[in-house]
């Protein structure tokens, strides 16, 4: 079958430090105004060896109607690949042929202007995403309904809550009708209810026979939405095939590299004022636990400013990327500016069935009452295995993975 996207030997080289524009003082600048061009050329020449390939020798083809998940650690080159496919940046080598119109959604609300009303922003944002005026006007009511912002249509979006803002922005983007839709992790915003709606919308898009490329850290969503997955590592295609296989491979790799760099697993985009610096499993047996054993983590948190009323959120995922269970700590903690604290999180009684799992953590506020807001979030470590051995006589030795991830060990059967 003829592909709708053909990528051949694609490469993108960046000059390190090329994006920095250090202008300190006005005096420097005035002097620099005359000399800067020459200085820049010199430094460019000196640093010419100081380059790296964000994407290199990437080739693949995608058939029309396919929904492809792009997975890989932070810094693997996923975002660069999307930018190349969306024509935001130009390749250094190779090329891409697109046999359809492309709509790309690398950020929710690109070009929203805070001073303009919701109504005005729908038109502006729609035009920025490549829609025509009549097209936006035709879909206007549908967009407003999807976003659930009818009452605030004429309010400047600067007065919107973050939830409303995201809903409106996604609603506009969701009504794009390109043959190829490129989506970068936008589903990671908004509340759970809205996320569900977004995924549903993407499913609709795909069912209309359109092609979707979808980058996510959320292996569960990738597993559910995508027919095939493309794994990127160090700028190259590492694996491309049926989603389930690729996701399982990718996740089991996390075991081997569980001591990896936290920055690669961070899902919060911007470096905030507080972050995890170390996450490890406090287990006597390394990364293995026996069934029923309390899971204990040691977390090191560093803050740049004074912060309090913080709590830890944590989830456990199985190897297909599905979340098995979650918690938000009742206990709160505080960190003083410039300090680090080490926390011990124990999770007894998980009843996790034998198998392989990985954890995620967030530092945040709320969750018990009101929405939870994450200040830092890490997905993918530590990874651990629950062994089919038990201190007590639990029926786990022959646990079948099809039975699920939780053992209901407190169950009782009585005769009446």
């Amino acid at each position: 079958m003829q592909p709708i996207i053909r990528v051949e030997n694609l490469g993108k080289q960046y000059h390190l430090g090329a994006s920095q524009a250090p202008y300190a003082t006005l005096r420097d600048t005035l002097v620099g105004a005359v000399r800067a061009p020459f200085r820049r050329w010199q430094s460019r020449a000196e640093n010419s060896s100081n380059t790296f390939w964000a994407v290199k020798d990437v080739s693949f083809e995608i058939a029309p109607g396919e929904v492809v998940g792009i997975i890989g650690r932070n810094g693997a080159g996923k975002s660069t690949l999307l930018k190349l496919l969306s024509r935001i940046t130009e390749p250094t080598t190779g090329g891409i042929d697109l046999y359809g119109r492309v709509g790309s959604l690398l950020e929710v609300g690109t070009g929203f202007h805070p001073e303009l009303s919701g109504r005005e922003n729908i038109f502006l944002n729609g035009a920025i995403l490549g829609m025509h005026r009549q097209e936006i006007a035709r879909k206007f009511d549908e967009i407003v309904e999807f976003a659930e912002v009818e009452k605030f249509l004429d309010t400047p979006v600067k007065h919107y809550s973050s939830g409303m803002y995201v809903r409106l922005a996604f609603a506009v983007a969701a009504h794009l009708e390109p043959e190829i839709l490129i989506v970068d992790e936008v589903l990671a915003v908004g509340d759970a209810q809205f996320q569900k709606k977004c995924l549903g919308k993407m499913n609709d898009v795909a069912q209309q026979g359109r092609t979707v490329l979808f980058v996510s850290h959320n292996m569960g969503a990738v597993n559910q939405l995508c027919t095939r997955a493309l794994q990127i590592a160090v700028g190259q295609v590492k694996n491309f095939g049926p989603t389930r296989e690729i996701v399982t491979d990718y996740l089991s790799e996390m075991f081997k590299a569980s001591s990896g760099d936290l920055a690669q697993l961070r899902t919060t985009r911007d470096e905030g004022n507080i972050r995890f610096t170390r996450i490890e499993l406090s287990a006597t047996g390394g990364t293995t636990l026996s069934f029923g054993q309390t899971v204990e983590y040691i977390l090191t948190v560093e803050a740049d400013v004074d912060m309090d009323e913080l709590s830890i959120g944590s989830s456990v995922f199985n190897l297909s990327g599905h979340c098995v269970g979650s918690l938000v700590t009742r206990e709160q903690f505080a960190v003083a500016a410039g300090n680090t604290v080490t926390l011990r999180l124990s999770v007894p009684g998980t009843n996790l069935a034998p198998g392989s799992y990985y954890a995620s953590f967030s530092i945040g506020r709320g969750g018990h009452e009101g929405l939870r807001q994450d200040l830092d979030a890490i997905i993918g470590m530590p990874a651990f295995q629950v062994l089919p051995i038990s201190d007590e006589r639990d029926p786990v030795a022959n646990w079948n993975p099809n039975w699920g991830a939780v053992v209901f060990r407190e169950a009782h059967l009585t005769t009446e």
Binding site: G32, G65, K83, G209, R210, S314, G321, L371
Partner: protein
């Protein structure tokens, strides 16, 4: 606006029935034989790609509309600024240069003489300044979505036309006050406005592209515009250079400003000077457009 990531870790998996997964989807669309878009590393000089500009004409409209709307929403005096800037400058210049220095004004009352120059100059200077800073100010757009980048500096210039039109209202009042009658020369006014706009687009887009690479432009631009002001016959007539006035024509704004005075006050046009200014304007516009396209491919990487 900050967008928080509610429940990111807590509720990552979303339960869409696995049945909805697309094992069998509807018939795929018929694909064209040739790729719609073919992305390759470009050569150093690239075509203008006017087709793409046409496809995105609605975006140009909305960018202009946004600039105009936001400007008037955020300022308390709104439209009045469009008149006050050239008006007060005119009053001050009339006093200093017309009254104190006694600069000749080719037989037109000095306030009128100065206002015609200031009117077009104010538009040009504001348009070039906002256009020159427009790309850097749109970094978030440039790194997140594709569209012809040329639209950004062009939209910044076109948005300035609204102020330009408003400032003409004051001119009408001044002309009534000084009892200056319109002549057929006024027919040249739209042509002059078009040329001024094209010149502002040319300079603006060139500066905006350079500004991405060398942020010095942001500081150098106001300075250059100030020098350019004195090199243009705004507070003085081109005639004071006598037989050297052709030299002045190498500044395309000079021919245009003199042209405005001829068109508005019924004075004879200096056709050779106007022709040279027009030619330079078009040459500069073409050069700027191609330079912009050549630099465009690096914008997203260095902005």
């Amino acid at each position: 606006m900050e967008v928080t990531n509610d429940n990111r870790v807590l509720e990552p998996a979303v339960d869409i029935a696995t049945a909805a997964k697309l094992s069998a989807h509807v018939a795929p669309p018929l694909l064209p034989d040739k790729p719609l878009v073919s992305i390759r590393p470009s050569k150093s000089w690239v075509a203008l790609n006017l087709r793409d500009l046409w496809l995105y004409r609605d975006l140009l409209y909305f960018l202009v509309w946004r600039d105009v709307k936001v400007r008037y929403k955020q300022t308390a005096l709104g439209v009045a600024w469009a008149i006050m800037q050239p008006l007060f400058t005119m009053l001050i210049f009339s006093f200093i240069f017309g009254r104190l220095a006694g600069i000749k004004s080719d037989g037109v009352p000095y306030p009128l003489f100065a206002y015609a120059g200031l009117l077009s100059w104010t538009f040009f200077a504001n348009a070039v300044t906002s256009s020159g800073n427009s790309l850097v100010g749109s970094a978030n757009l440039i790194t997140k979505v594709y569209f012809p980048r040329l639209l950004i500096p062009v939209a910044a210039v076109i948005a300035g036309l609204v102020d330009f039109a408003i400032a003409f209202l004051l001119l009408a009042v001044l002309m009534l006050y000084y009892r200056v009658a319109l002549t057929w020369n006024i027919l040249m006014l739209p042509v002059l406005m078009l040329l001024t706009t094209l010149l502002a687009i040319g300079v603006g887009m060139w500066m905006s592209a350079l500004n991405v690479k060398y942020r010095d432009i942001r500081y150098a631009l106001p300075f250059v515009i100030q020098l350019w002001f004195f090199a243009s016959p705004i507070i003085y007539p081109a005639s004071i250079f006598q037989h050297w006035r052709w030299l002045l024509a190498f500044n395309p704004m000079a021919g245009l400003i003199e042209g405005y005075r001829a068109a508005l006050y019924g004075r004879p046009f200096d056709w050779p000077m106007l022709a040279l200014s027009s030619g330079l304007t078009l040459a500069l516009l073409t050069y700027a457009a191609f330079t912009f396209r050549r630099m465009e491919k690096g914008f997203a990487d260095i902005i």
